[in-house]
């Protein structure tokens, strides 16, 4: 079941005491799509990292489906990411020595035994859905930038997560590839009733989201529905 998001009194400060993020309240219904926008250094990626449990906030609560991940240990947050999130990075972060299928099914390496085969099957299926079905066994260094990002998307979806978080997923792509990937991302998220949160400078991608939040100096300055 797709969890709802409830963020309350969230603060992230740097070691020097500078406020990086200050969000008194942020909620997101299950299945909603959200674009986080703002200038560089506004705190978009920091917010995404906190929502994914990659960073622990200095104060506040980050509640996904009733579970406050800010209070969890590192291993518990890793488990949360494994079971609930699919992460997509700007820089793909693929294992160059693995094939497309190997990368897409990466989570099977550390999944419980009963989940390994289903994850690999799902990975193959997602590659096909993203137009890479025949190329599963090829090494990833033979793919174009757009194809590599699609492999990363397949990896994010292979575990069947109800939430997708993407940090600048189209930033390294040309216009055509960016538009195609953006469309696929939104479609696949909607088809599965998944919550989708993207950090993006891409206005076209942001426009596809149901909601847009603009940050500046770590604070939400604008929050609009599509």
């Amino acid at each position: 079941m797709t969890p709802a998001l409830h963020v309350e009194d969230l603060r992230v400060t740097s070691r020097e005491g500078r406020v990086l993020l200050d969000v008194p309240l942020l909620t997101l219904a299950p299945g909603q799509s959200l674009a986080l926008r703002g200038a560089s250094g506004a705190g978009k990626s920091t917010l995404l990292h906190v929502l994914s449990g990659l960073v622990r906030p200095s104060a506040g609560r980050v509640v996904w489906g009733g579970q406050d991940i800010a209070a969890l240990t590192e291993d518990a947050r890793a488990r949360f990411r494994r079971e609930t999130l699919g992460l997509i990075f700007q820089d793909c972060h693929l294992f160059e020595e693995l094939s497309a299928l190997g990368n897409a099914g990466l989570a099977s390496a550390f999944a419980p035994a009963r989940d390994r085969a289903p994850i690999r099957l799902a990975a193959a299926s997602w590659l096909a859905a993203l137009g890479l079905g025949q190329a599963g066994s090829r090494a990833v260094d033979s793919f174009s930038g757009g194809e590599r990002q699609r492999i990363a998307v397949a990896r994010a979806l292979a575990g069947g997560p109800p939430v997708i978080l993407a940090d600048e997923p189209t930033a390294a792509l040309d216009r055509a590839n960016a538009d195609a990937l953006g469309a696929d991302l939104v479609r696949l998220a909607a088809e599965g009733g998944r919550t989708l949160i993207v950090v993006t400078h891409d206005a076209a991608l942001a426009a596809r989201m149901g909601r847009q939040i603009t940050l500046a100096d770590g604070r939400i300055v604008e929050d609009t529905d599509a």
């Binding site: 990292h49 994914s52 990659l54 960073v55 590192e74 291993d75 890793a78 488990r79 949360f80 990411r81 494994r82 079971e83 999130l85 992460l87 990075f89 972060h93 294992f95 160059e96 020595e97 693995l98 190997g102 990466l106 989570a107 390496a109 550390f110 035994a113 390994r116 990896r155 994010a156 575990g159």
Partner: protein, 435 residues
């Protein structure tokens, strides 16, 4: 407990000791990898940094090979030299240095020495319990191969049935060692002396005909040419140990007609006989000793040298282990981004730990295996050189001491590899993700 251990067969003790050595490392591995499958991922990461990994493996292999080769080589040399002396039960000679006589009579490294007289030889040969007493008269050579005067009993005792031809039956005949430089049917004129100072013309006009070839013995005797002792005396213009009209060769000799011999090999009829004969012929005018005893004493002296060398090998391995550890910590930085990705997409810390440890273990095990092969190859190569130089057959094979050394090294380094793995999972995730 000690009694139980002492009651076990040595082979079983070796197996159990090897298992005990490698157990901590394997146990650590079993605990780390329990329920996980990091190996396909580790394989991919190893391929990514193939050159650096190959350097590590080579470093480990050289250090392991050094220790293995040292141990195997030393044991091969010790066993080879001991094997050469096995057939020499008891040597009787004029009083002097037992080591000098042993080197001359057993290893054919001749020196000038006083002779056992004909009367003394007759007393030895006639003593109760003596199966045979064979003179060993060295001093001549041919193309670097020692020419040694002796009896048929000695030839048969040393090498058993001939590989080719027949044993000598006349003073001008000879039997060649397995690798001596004259073939059956050939002939040779001995030089007086040996080495660069040998006088090649001293015995011109005299020739031995080779009638047979011995089977290999693994000793310097494989390169020797054995002739009747009467031939040696005759070629030096001496009486031949027999009455003038007596054409036969071999004992009994006429004491007054026997010029003497540097050494006599005595073989007893009974197991205890050699010990009784040694006591009997250890006196003012004769010296009797067991070459095995002298060699064992020499090897015991060398044991300290061996211990120092073994210590050096162990120290080298410890240093390399530390270097490997430091290197692994540096390697972890190379793969930090990949590890951060794994953590980011939800891999448990235990899995990431296992990936790093398995990566290290792959390098260690590959290096140790290659080192074992390298050490064996080096020992074989050096043994071949020593065999060629000394004619003592030295064969270095891997044995339990080498297995124990490698097992201990693997176990220690696998255990130490837990440290870089622990450090890897403590790295800042986001920082590594952004590199």
């Amino acid at each position: 407990m000690l009694d139980l251990w002492a009651s076990l067969p040595p082979a079983l003790q070796d197996v159990l000791f090897a298992l005990a050595l490698i157990a901590p490392g394997l146990l650590a591995g079993a605990l780390v990898l329990r329920g996980l499958r990091p190996l396909p991922l580790v394989g991919a990461m190893l391929r990514r940094f193939a050159f650096v990994n190959a350097l590590f493996v080579a470093l480990i292999a050289v250090s392991v090979g050094l220790g293995v080769g040292l141990l195997a080589q030393e044991r091969g040399l010790r066993q080879g030299s001991a094997r050469s002396a096995e057939k020499f039960d008891l040597i009787v000679a004029a009083p002097g240095s037992e080591v000098t006589v042993m080197l001359a009579a057993v290893y054919l490294q001749p020196s000038d020495m006083a002779l056992v007289t004909g009367a003394q030889y007759a007393e030895i040969a006639a003593a109760e319990g003596v199966a045979f007493a064979a003179p060993i008269a060295f001093g001549d050579s041919y193309q670097g191969a020692p020419v040694v005067g002796t009896t048929v009993d000695f030839v048969t005792h040393l090498a058993g049935p001939l590989a080719e031809g027949r044993v000598f039956s006349a003073a001008e005949e000879a039997v060649a060692g397995a690798y001596a430089p004259v073939d059956v049917g050939g002939s040779f004129t001995p030089a007086h002396g040996h080495g660069p100072a040998a006088e090649h013309e001293a015995h011109e006009g005299f020739a031995y005909a080779v009638t047979g070839r011995m089977a290999p013995t693994g000793s310097p005797w494989d390169r020797a040419l054995l002739v009747p002792v009467e031939g040696v005396w005759a070629v030096h213009g001496l009486a031949n140990g027999h009455a003038p009209d007596d054409p036969r060769i071999g004992p009994p000799f006429v004491p007054e007609m026997m010029p003497g011999t540097p050494a006599v090999l005595v073989h007893a009829t009974e197991l205890w006989g050699n010990y009784a004969l040694k006591s009997r012929f250890t006196r003012g005018d004769l010296m009797a000793f067991f070459p095995g005893t002298v060699l064992a004493q020499l090897h015991a002296l060398m044991r300290d040298v061996r211990s120092a060398m073994s210590l050096m090998a162990v120290l080298t391995q410890v240093l390399v282990t530390l270097s490997v550890l430091i290197g692994l910590m540096i390697l972890v930085r190379l793969i930090a981004r990949s590890l951060a990705l794994l953590r980011a997409i939800g891999a448990p810390l235990r899995f990431v730990f296992a990936v790093v440890w398995a990566y290290s273990a792959a390098l260690i095990l590959s290096g140790a295996t290659l080192g074992l092969a390298l050490g064996w190859g080096a020992a074989r190569g050096i043994s071949a050189v020593i065999t060629a130089r000394t004619d003592v057959l030295v064969t270095a094979n891997l044995g339990w001491p080498e297995a124990h050394l490698v097992a201990g090294f693997i176990s220690l380094t696998l255990f130490m590899a837990l440290l870089p793995a622990w450090l890897a999972v403590r790295r800042p995730l986001l920082t590594d993700l952004r590199t």
